[in-house]
């Protein structure tokens, strides 16, 4: 067999192009809560069984992003809403060591399985767990951490190779 058939690109090679193309509709950085009481946060509901979110974060803001992730975890776990606990149970956050576009750092949310109909908007969840200045500071930190935005990918399971 010849060993020239499949071109394997370096890590993240096409991701930059995907972000600009139709493959993954790129979402802008999450909106800051300028007027929390009057402006509803956009909802993030997955239409599939599994969801992946690619987050492109400024290299000098990774600590801020991870601090917000820790607060997100706190908000989910302390929520009296059972749906939030269910969301937490299948929501993991990963970091890629490979450099992303424009020097960004890629964080990936893997949500498997998705909680049907649940809203995964981080700002909405933070608003449920925190209020006032703390909430505003968290969302500011969160939105300012983004380099170029997010990509949401809806996935349908084809197979679990171990089952």
């Amino acid at each position: 067999m010849t060993a020239t058939r499949i071109c394997v690109l370096a890590p993240l090679a096409v991701l930059g192009a995907l972000r600009a193309g139709p493959a993954f509709a790129q979402q802008p950085a999450p909106a800051a809560p300028m007027a929390q009481a009057t402006v509803a946060s956009p909802t993030r509901v997955f239409g599939s069984n599994t969801g992946v979110v690619l987050n492109f974060i400024k290299a000098d803001k990774t600590a801020d992003f991870e601090a917000v992730v820790a607060k997100l975890k706190e908000a989910l776990q302390s929520s009296p809403n059972a749906t939030r606990k269910e969301q937490a149970a299948s929501w993991k956050v990963y970091k890629s060591p490979d450099p992303g576009p424009a020097g960004s750092v890629l964080y990936i949310f893997i949500i498997d399985p998705v909680v049907k109909g649940a809203d995964y908007a981080v700002s909405t969840i933070l608003a449920e767990g925190f209020s006032g200045d703390e909430f505003s500071a968290l969302v500011k930190k969160y939105t300012e951490a983004y380099s170029t935005g997010q990509n949401f990918v809806n996935l349908s399971l084809v197979s679990e190779l171990g089952k």
């Binding site: 991701l15 992303g100 990936i108 197979s159």
Partner: protein, 156 residues
Amino acid sequence: MLRRIVVGMAVGMLSAATVFAQAAAPAQPAAPSPFVFSGDGGVILNFVKADKTADFEMVMGKLKEALAKSEKPERKAQAAGWKYFKASEPGPNGAVIYVFIMDPVAQGQEYSVGNILVEVLGATEGQALYKTYSDSYANPAIGALLHLTKVADLGK
């Protein structure tokens, strides 16, 4: 940075040198396989031709069989954390995106489809399946190969 990376590597990268070895070359330190994940998780975005998805899924079915058939515990460990998905969103040039998610990763193991097929099913069948598999790929074949470190498990 990313745009400059578009360098095709041979399938040899996908597969261990022992399986798809080419002509003997002067001994050099082997480059680490990109299909060995050193972190907690791995994600591979595969771009497959729209008219070849049945072939791709057929070979993945054979891969599942091979992993189950293997007597090596490390293959069982790989199977246990390896799922694959089809994305709703279209890929570049009409390709269909299949996503492998390895979570958890079996440490030190190579997630090379070709190598596993050959190892378990033998060279003839394994290489025939691998040809079908590789023929199903669009160009580029792989959009991202991510070695991931877990930052948080929001439920724990």
